[in-house]
């Protein structure tokens, strides 16, 4: 078995406008997804929006530059993730297709396995 990270990307501008009812519905869908795939999910979280992010980069002087905001500015930002276990990419994609999403989609990345 291998592990894959499913990264959930969404347009934050659109996401900011969801009603509390929509939010409750999305949360419910994630709970159901989590129960349905409990046997392969190894972890997962929703993230606060990128306006809460702080980026830290080493600078040439040997110190750090700390800046407000996401590491890379993109229209669709990382909003959450699941860590799953799957035998191969097809299995991982089958799980990924069932991740509840709004205003975006998911990216599936294999975990680099250190031997």
């Amino acid at each position: 078995m291998s592990q894959y990270l499913i990264l959930i990307y969404a347009d934050e501008a659109q996401g900011a406008s969801v009603t509390p009812e929509d939010m409750a519905q999305l949360t419910k869908e994630h709970m159901e997804f989590g129960q349905r795939h409990a046997d392969v999910i190894r972890g997962g979280n929703a993230l606060q929006p990128t306006n809460t992010a702080t980026s830290v980069r080493p600078d040439p002087a040997g110190g750090y530059t700390v800046t407000d905001g996401a590491f890379a500015e993109t229209k669709e930002a990382l909003g959450g993730y699941y860590l799953i276990e799957a035998a191969d990419l097809d299995q991982a994609l089958a799980v990924a297709k069932e991740v509840p999403t709004r205003f975006g989609g998911v990216e599936v990345r294999p975990i680099w396995e250190v031997m």
Binding site: S2, D88, L89, D90
Partner: protein, 434 residues
């Protein structure tokens, strides 16, 4: 069984023939042993080289594919034993449990070692292996460019240089593309497997798209000095034939093979001695390949009997109507328009709409055709599409609207990258006079 004293030329021809027909078969059977694409390719290349060296003295085996498979697999087993520790660290292709149960380096179940030329690999198992290779090459997680490159390399056995020339990119670019694709197969664990039944229709469509892309790239080369790249057309035909053998019950597979045959049947009549383009209307139909037409027509009839009728089946049916008309004037245009209507429902695209409009022009007259074309002019996908301007130009010319026809030909010339097509448009422009 064995031709004992073949000439060097006969050996070379036999090896070339086996390369053309059996590469995918031999490679797929070897991947089963190695579970590593690069190692399998190396061993298969080695087996073909050994065939060239030894078939002269030992005779051409009755079953070259079986001989090559045996030699390639033995080579693979030798290398795996020799470098067992080094290779253990490499990621193996992910396969289904039945295949994975046989560890790399061990004979898989059902495989019986046999002497070169005498081997009889279990046919159904090997046929399945070719399908595994097909579905891995055309996995949707790979980019289209990568799928096409891998198919030519692994299924057709083209060298990286040959694949690069087919797509007019440098060998270094193509080598990087192929390496990247293989790396993704290993790192992301794209499985070496025939997809489960539920996923099969979508995955077969993806494979057919790759073969059709190869064919259309070869048939109307988007750039370059020649109208066609015959090597690509031939390879797409080989692949379509292989899929027909491996997936015999699928209508769309029959449909795509039919489409390629029925279109390619006109190859000999498409350009004149000077390499100039000849339109369907002006082609010498006596030069069409009647054997390909007969084979394609039979396949179309079979494919049309299966619901739902797919895109390639409907395109093949349109090609069949053209091919079966004794002269251009005899073309059953209303039937072609009807088939385009079905195709628009199945595969709505601006290019299909354009072809339908052209057919309307022949069924109902150039004024109706022009009206149908002008209804498409606003479609953003067709902006910059040379065939739209060329078709408009043709209808305007037939309506005697010379000034507008000239403008449309000039526009088409600006939008066309293929030298043969450009010459054709320039000649039409000349004929209009000033």
């Amino acid at each position: 069984m064995v031709d004992v004293h073949p000439t060097a030329a006969a050996v070379a021809a036999a090896v070339a023939g086996a390369h053309r027909r059996e590469w995918a078969f031999v490679l797929a059977a070897t991947v089963r042993v190695t579970r590593d694409l690069d190692l399998a390719e190396e061993c298969v290349q080695d087996a073909y080289a050994r065939a060239l060296d030894t078939w002269g003295a030992a005779g051409i085996p009755a079953r070259p594919g079986a001989w090559l498979t045996t030699v390639a697999r033995r080579r693979a087993l030798d290398l795996l034993r020799r470098d067992a520790t080094a290779r253990r660290a490499l990621p193996l292709l992910v396969t289904d449990p039945a295949l994975a149960a046989a560890p790399a380096g061990h004979e898989p179940a059902g495989y019986e070692p046999a002497g070169p030329g005498l081997g009889a690999p279990a046919e159904p198992e090997i046929a399945d292996d070719r399908l595994r290779l097909v579905f891995t090459c055309c996995h949707p997680a790979l980019g289209t460019d990568a799928q096409v490159a891998l198919s030519l390399r692994l299924l057709c056995g083209l060298s990286t240089g040959e694949v690069a020339r087919a797509f007019l990119v440098s060998e270094a670019t193509m080598a990087a593309r192929i390496t990247r694709a293989k790396k993704k197969i290993a790192a992301a664990r794209i499985p070496y497997r025939v997809p489960p039944r539920a996923e099969l229709p979508g995955r077969v469509d993806a494979v057919l798209m790759v073969v059709h892309l190869l064919f259309s790239t070869g048939y109307a080369a988007p750039a370059g000095d020649e109208l066609m790249r015959e090597d690509l057309v031939e390879r797409s035909l080989d692949l379509a034939r292989m899929l027909r053998v491996l997936l015999p019950g699928r209508g769309e597979v029959a449909g795509l093979l039919a489409l390629i045959l029925l279109t390619d049947a006109r190859r000999g009549a498409r350009v004149d001695e000077a390499g100039r383009l000849i339109l369907l209307a002006d082609q010498d139909r006596a030069r069409w390949d009647t054997a390909k037409i007969a084979e394609g027509s039979a396949l179309v009839r079979e494919a049309l009997g299966q619901e739902p009728r797919g895109r390639f089946t409907l395109m093949a049916a349109i090609a069949a109507v053209h091919d079966e008309a004794p002269t251009f004037g005899d073309t059953d245009w209303p039937q072609i328009v009807g088939l385009y209507d079905l195709l628009m429902r199945r595969w709505p695209s601006p290019v299909v709409a354009l072809n339908r409009a052209v057919a309307v022009g022949f069924a109902d007259g150039p004024a109706q055709g022009l009206a149908a074309l002008d209804a498409l002019a606003a479609s953003p996908e067709l902006a910059g599409y040379g065939y739209l301007s060329a078709s408009r130009a043709d209808f305007l010319r037939r309506l005697g609207r010379t000034g507008e026809a000239r403008l449309a030909y000039q526009e088409a010339l600006l939008l066309t990258g293929n030298a043969v097509e450009r010459d054709f448009l320039a000649a039409r422009l000349d004929q209009l006079g000033s």
